[in-house]
């Protein structure tokens, strides 16, 4: 089961949240067997509880559920739910893990997740998923879209009455299950156990748990959700009324030494803004107020979102406050919020107070850490190193997501891909060793045959059969044109029915199959595989949904529901007759990657690619490697970055698989995923190469300020210049230094936050204090954005006497040279409301980080988009932070957004992981449902080229000189918008073709005007007669 070095091609991912799922999918796509274990009965983690995500307001479940399904159905992923690690032994590349699997008392193979058992269970329990705002039963599905869709008996609350067993038609309930210990052999471990929410009851001054209308932010999130307790309405728990005024208190359980959480939880600011906006949308006339200390909107488009919240949505922000206490008016259950503003105590009244709860380390993590032998930091999160942010203290065990530090979804996803990359590098040789591709019989060509349709109608236990008259539907189907076989099954998706379908196809020579059952979104693949086993092309299959969109929603009207079922089947059969065989295009993959940019991200990516066994072509525009890192000398804890850089460059240069091009730029890029043709101009010499994938790591650069006398007075410098000075000179001769934050960031011209400068300023201030504690340092900031564990350095700096002065955007500091030649800084301290006058020896500006200058040209060349600020725009802000919408091109590092050293390393590894899912395959199967051009009709107008989001169509010249559209099969996603836009209807879609859809419409409205009731009788008669 392992390669020649004894490495095992399997990985265990601990935690099935969004990070765990992403890591698992990357690994599984790259050819590793993945075990996902989670203590919960379902995967999905914290994201599954969310209503919307910031800053795009994507519905969390809508974007999560495809990932849930992909993880649950992936043939290389094994889910081990309600399980925990008991012990681990072995070494990197070859571990044996004992996993304790709790009994769920429901057979995962048999349960269909219909949930009938829950209706009859007599025991009601507070539902944790809905934060106790709702009840669930003792047998339950964690949430409606849960994967695996298998019920679980909550043994702590179950009284063992056994009624669920009598309800289960599938016979899935099994009370004799017991906890078992399973041994699993794996090569690496990835830890993604996430976090646990801070218990707001610990901040007793806010009255959580005492005052009914004090909620946690997670409770509010559940209220906002359509699947929540009040179906999306926000109601006061005390009396069920809609609130008129709602306040958010920030930093509950974050940045709070008293409760033992001195760190910043990184996400709550944005979380609160999102909830404040959505709550307003859900509640007419609602006012929302956010009380906060610093607004930490440091992510992509976050500051813009913050501004929109204030200006468009009229969310009221009150800064500089830690609310001191909340009291309740016992008559009205209204809440009084006590806080100080500019030194005065104030009181405001609200209907609901929401506590923005921070992140605690995951529950029971100490036990896990002890069993695995990994170190935790002082806060109970995973201990990591700046240079290896994805590695735990134990080799072979990696970490990602909130467990390494509080973080939001995209950062977790990027890290998860990164951890997957690290986990693979230990077992690169064992890639593919444990996964087997399924073999299917050769496909029978049915083209030209008369359609012979088989219809299988599912009872789905009693989910469909309890409402619709399923046997009559099957009988009815027999009467439809082209149908040669129809039958009803208790469960069409069960293993034995699948086999039966295969047999029927062979016996009766069926060449089209229709299944009328549940939703095609989850079940199409199962049936398509059945067709493949029967030797049919999988696209000769059509499915119609008579459960989710018929029996479940017309329970009280069985007759008309059955009539609708007949219509749906008739439509499916009509389409099926016109189905054609489709075969996805195959592209051969060049096993080499192009990495654009030779900074920290680019070099890290190139090295990881090489470790995985692939060539990397590294293109750097400068004469030497290193990028911006060349100007950064030390880390927050004094790490030697220049020493690190030297070693990194040497590693890259010594690596045979890495081809470095310096003084280089791209001249031309063509082709698509699997085979890009790239022309590189390096040192004036042009080289043409072929690359399977492209990683964009173009980095960024420091803004050259025009403000504050920069460039006019030598005492004014940027943080990078100042750092260089400190590093080179080792000392500084000054009595007073002033630092100004947000120079060039968060301005009208550049509304984004440069993310790193607050921490850079703190770092340099600490450095100066270390050299000479007597030097006075004033740090003039707008919001201190030292998120995560960086908060502690901020505190340290304040303790060491660095004076932090907040100024508002409209009161920017004034800098001039006074008549004695001294620098003079005048600033209005927003907290004390006093004007300060300081005469520093040096004025250090935290200058913005700008996107690399060549981004625009590169974006045109690669046909990938930039955002309005000139950073590259990923495929999806939440769940695809490292991908472009165009397949085969990835991004990482500052090309995406300004970010820290360790974040760049994580992202670079992550981009490699994403790239490896392509590079590891020999050929790439494209979509089969794609657009096809009829060249005889095409006039070459090019509308399709403009329409396509993915760059699939292009114009090509035929031999006769005509311009026609050409669809790149590897790039086409099959959305079909080009076929609609096509002026001459020269483009058609497979599987969802106009003809097929028309046939469905026609059959939906049959010509005969027989009233349904009479018709039904007539049909039944006919059936009985025959």
């Amino acid at each position: 089961m392992s390669d020649e070095e004894g490495k095992i091609g399997a990985v265990m991912v601990v935690g099935g949240g969004i990070a765990g799922m992403q890591a698992a999918l990357d690994l599984a796509d790259t050819g590793y067997l993945v075990y996902v274990i989670d203590s919960s009965p379902s995967i999905g983690g914290a994201m599954a509880q969310l209503d919307k995500t910031f800053p795009t307001h994507d519905c969390a479940m809508c974007i999560l559920s495809p990932k849930l399904v992909a993880t649950g159905r992936h043939h290389n992923v094994k889910l081990m739910m309600a399980s925990e690690i008991d012990a681990i032994e072995g070494e990197p590349g070859n571990f044996t893990v004992s996993v304790k699997r709790k009994a769920r008392y429901v057979d995962e193979e048999k349960c269909t997740g219909c949930g009938l058992c829950t209706l009859r269970c007599p025991v009601e329990v507070r539902d944790e998923y809905n934060q106790g705002l709702k009840l669930r039963k003792a047998i339950y599905l964690k949430y409606p879209q849960a994967v695996p869709p298998v019920l679980t008996i909550d043994r702590d609350n179950c009284i063992g009455c056994g009624v669920c067993e009598t309800q289960c038609v599938a016979g899935a309930i099994n009370f004799s299950r017991e906890e078992e210990l399973v041994k699993v052999d794996i090569g690496s471990v990835i830890l993604a156990p996430g976090f646990s929410g801070f218990d707001p009851g610990l901040k007793s001054e806010y009255g959580y748990g005492v005052f009914k209308n004090v909620l946690s932010s997670v409770e509010l999130e559940r209220m906002l959700s359509a699947t929540g307790p009040y179906r999306g309405m926000v109601l006061r728990p005390s009396d069920g009324r809609m609130p008129k005024r709602m306040a958010f208190i920030q930093c509950v359980g974050s940045r709070d030494v008293q409760v033992g959480n001195p760190y910043c939880s990184s996400v709550c600011c944005m979380f609160a803004i999102k909830e404040a906006i959505i709550a307003k949308e859900h509640t007419p006339g609602l006012e929302t107020h956010i009380f906060f200390m610093d607004m930490r909107a440091f992510g992509k488009e976050f500051d813009e979102y913050y501004i929109r919240a204030e200006e468009e949505h009229r969310v009221v922000f009150t800064r500089n406050t830690r609310v001191s206490s909340v009291s309740e008016n016992p008559e009205t259950n209204n809440l009084h919020l006590w806080y100080s503003e500019h030194g005065k105590m104030r009181r405001e009244e609200y209907d609901i107070v929401v506590l923005s709860v921070g992140f605690d380390s995951p529950k029971d993590v100490e036990k896990l850490a002890e069993k695995l032998g990994i170190e935790l930091n002082e806060h109970g999160f995973c201990q990591t190193d700046m240079f290896t942010p994805l590695d735990t203290s134990k080799p072979g065990i990696y970490v990602c997501g909130a467990f390494s530090s509080p973080k939001d979804i995209p950062d977790s996803v990027a890290q998860a891909s990164g951890a997957a990359c690290r986990a693979m590098s230990d077992i690169a040789g064992a890639r593919g060793a444990l996964v087997t591709a399924k073999e299917y019989p050769p496909e029978i060509d049915v083209s030209g045959q008369e359609p012979k349709v088989g219809v299988f109608v599912c009872h789905c236990g009693i989910n469909i059969g309890g409402v619709l008259d399923v046997p009559s539907l099957a009988e009815y189907a027999k009467t439809l044109p082209n149908v040669v076989h129809a039958e009803d099954n208790l469960y069409t998706c069960s293993q034995d029915t699948q086999q039966r379908i295969s047999e029927v196809v062979r016996e009766k020579g069926l060449n089209r199959v229709v299944v009328a059952s549940c939703t095609p979104r989850t079940h199409t693949t199962i049936f398509q595989n059945t067709l493949k086993e029967a030797g049919l092309n999988p696209y000769l299959f059509e499915m119609t949904n008579i459960r989710d969109q018929c029996s479940w929603v017309h329970m009280n009207d069985p007759e008309r529901a059955t009539e609708k079922g007949r219509t749906l089947i008739r439509m499916a059969v009509a389409k099926a007759a016109l189905l054609e065989q489709l075969r996805p295009a195959e592209v051969e993959i060049v096993k080499s990657a192009l990495v654009i940019g030779g900074g920290l991200s680019g070099m890290t990516a190139a090295l990881e690619l090489s470790k995985a066994g692939f060539d990397a072509h590294l293109v750097e525009k400068d004469s030497e490697l290193g990028g911006l890192l060349r100007r950064i000398h030390y880390g927050l804890s004094g790490e030697d970055l220049q020493g690190f850089l030297k070693r990194l460059v040497k590693q890259v240069e010594d690596d045979d698989r890495i081809h470095v091009y310096t003084n280089a730029e791209l001249k031309e890029v063509s082709g698509s995923v699997g085979n890009f043709t790239v022309v590189i101009d390096s040192e004036g010499e042009e080289t043409e190469t072929h690359q399977g994938v492209i990683i964009v790591a173009t980095g960024g650069e420091e803004y050259e300020p025009t403000e504050y006398l920069y460039g006019k007075d030598p005492r004014v410098m940027t943080q990078l210049e100042f750092e260089e000075k400190l590093a080179k000179e080792g000392e500084i001769d000054a009595k007073c230094i002033v630092m100004v934050h947000c120079v060039g960031s968060r301005t009208a011209e550049r509304p984004y936050c440069s993310r790193v400068c607050c921490t850079e300023s703190v770092k340099n201030a600490l450095r100066v204090k270390e050299m000479d504690p007597g030097i006075a340092i004033y740090s003039l900031f707008r919001d201190m954005r030292t998120y995560g564990f960086r908060e502690e350095f901020y505190r340290e700096a304040a303790e060491k006497g660095v004076v932090f002065v907040r100024f508002l955007e409209e009161n920017e500091p004034v800098v001039r040279v006074d008549d004695q030649g001294r620098l003079e800084v005048i600033v209005l301290d927003d907290i004390l409301q006093e004007e300060l006058l300081i005469n520093p020896d040096y004025l250090v500006l935290a200058a913005a980080t700008l996107p690399a200058r060549g981004n625009e040209e590169l974006s045109r060349m690669l046909k990938v988009p930039l955002n309005s600020q000139g950073f590259f725009l990923e495929a999806h802000m939440k769940l695809r932070p490292l991908d472009f919408a165009t397949d085969g091109i990835f991004l990482c590092g500052l090309a995406h957004l300004p970010k820290f050293f360790e974040e760049n390393v994580s992202q670079a590894c992550g981009a490699v992981s994403r790239a490896l899912s392509i590079l590891s395959q020999d050929t790439l199967e494209g979509e089969a449902i794609i657009a096809v051009v009829d060249e005889s009709k095409c006039r070459g107008c090019g509308v399709c080229v403009d329409t396509c989001e993915f760059g699939a169509p292009s114009l090509k010249q035929l031999e006769d000189g005509r311009q026609v559209s050409h669809i790149d099969e590897a790039l086409c996603k099959g959305c079909g918008s080009c076929s609609v836009n096509c002026c001459n209807k020269a483009i058609s879609m497979g599987y969802f073709g106009t003809g097929q859809i028309l046939s469905m419409i026609e059959s939906c409205f049959p010509e005969t005007e027989t009233p349904p009731a009479e018709k039904e009788v007539a049909e039944v008669k006919e059936v009985t007669e025959t």
Binding site: C161, Q167, K212, D239, G240, D469
Partner: protein
């Protein structure tokens, strides 16, 4: 009204007769096979029809002809008494007594004392020409609660789970089961009350709380559950308060049967229409059986509104055709 079990109490009453022991005339007797066969719904129904008191008499513990039927009866009566209390009727109006076949004297004494006690309580307030409509309405609610699967199931399974063995081979302590049953009875009563309240016009949480005397937060919690069960919906929002309306359970009610037997005749007929190898007479029999028997042949639980018959049909068919 008195319900006497065939084997002990009815015999005991006969013995009183044979012995010519005199007792008041106020008790009308219904003979049943076992005290456990008296549906709690019947007990409530008796009160609704105006009985001043209900006597249930069975064998002494350990003597039951059907092993533990009398203990089952004890549990049921306990629940009914609790519900009567909730309705505003004195729980003493329902009394359970153990009378053996040899206790003719005791039977007379029991009747004596019960008649006296009930006499002191006075007439049933829902009886007569001017019934107390509040109490009557609550009795209807109690009837609905007892027709509901949840309370029923707990009552029926209590003995098995508490004293014998549940499906995991454990037993659950009496206190826990009592608490569960108490909670379930009280919750379902509240919920049925809310459904009754919201039946005709939309009401807010505050109005429901005012009219039922329940705390607003508890009412809100019940609305969540009822909306989930598909029995209640938000009709509209008025002045910042959602107004709730009961969703009429529009079904073919069989008027001669009590509330708990409201079943979907049509859905049964539809389900069995295409059963193979079954003649029309058998189909008719199945429909009748399903409508008229109190307990489903398959799952041995009472059918209720939400019962879906295809399961039962499968159970029935195994006896009929298979």
């Amino acid at each position: 009204m008195g319900f006497l079990c065939n084997w002990c109490s009815y015999a005991g009453a006969d013995l009183a007769g044979v012995s010519r022991i005199q007792y008041p005339t106020n008790v009308g007797v219904v003979r049943v096979m076992c005290s456990s066969s008296i549906d709690p719904v019947i007990l409530v129904e008796t009160m609704i029809r105006g009985a001043d008191g209900v006597l249930v008499a069975g064998c002494h513990p350990g003597d039951c002809h059907y092993d533990i039927g009398n203990l089952q009866a004890e549990r049921r009566v306990k629940v009914v008494r609790r519900l009567l209390d909730r309705c505003g009727l004195e729980p003493q109006r329902i009394r359970l007594e153990w009378v053996s076949a040899s206790e003719g004297m005791r039977y007379a004494e029991v009747v004596d004392s019960f008649v006296e006690e009930v006499g002191e309580l006075g007439p049933n307030p829902v009886a007569g020409d001017e019934p107390d409509l509040d109490i009557l309405e609550r009795l209807y609610i109690a009837r609905d609660v007892l027709g509901d699967f949840r309370v029923n199931l707990l009552v029926n399974k209590e003995h098995q789970i508490e004293d014998v063995s549940n499906v995991f081979g454990d037993t659950i302590p009496k206190e826990r089961m009592d608490e569960l049953l108490d909670t379930a009875t009280s919750e379902e009563f509240s919920r049925c009350s809310l459904l009754m309240l919201a039946r005709d016009s939309p009401v807010s949480v505050q109005q429901m709380a005012d009219r039922t005397g329940l705390p607003e937060e508890e009412v809100l919690d019940h609305t969540v559950t009822l909306v989930d069960r598909g029995l209640l919906k938000v009709d509209r929002v008025d002045d910042g308060s959602p107004l709730y309306l009961t969703i009429p359970q529009d079904r073919d009610r069989i008027s001669t049967l009590p509330a708990w037997a409201r079943v979907e005749k049509r859905s049964i007929e539809l389900s069995i229409k295409n059963l193979p190898d079954v003649d029309e007479a058998t189909k008719g029999w199945i429909v009748r059986e399903l409508l008229l028997t109190l307990r489903c042949h398959n799952c041995e639980r009472r059918r209720s509104n939400a019962c879906n018959f295809s399961v039962c049909i499968r159970g029935l068919m195994s006896g009929v055709v298979g």
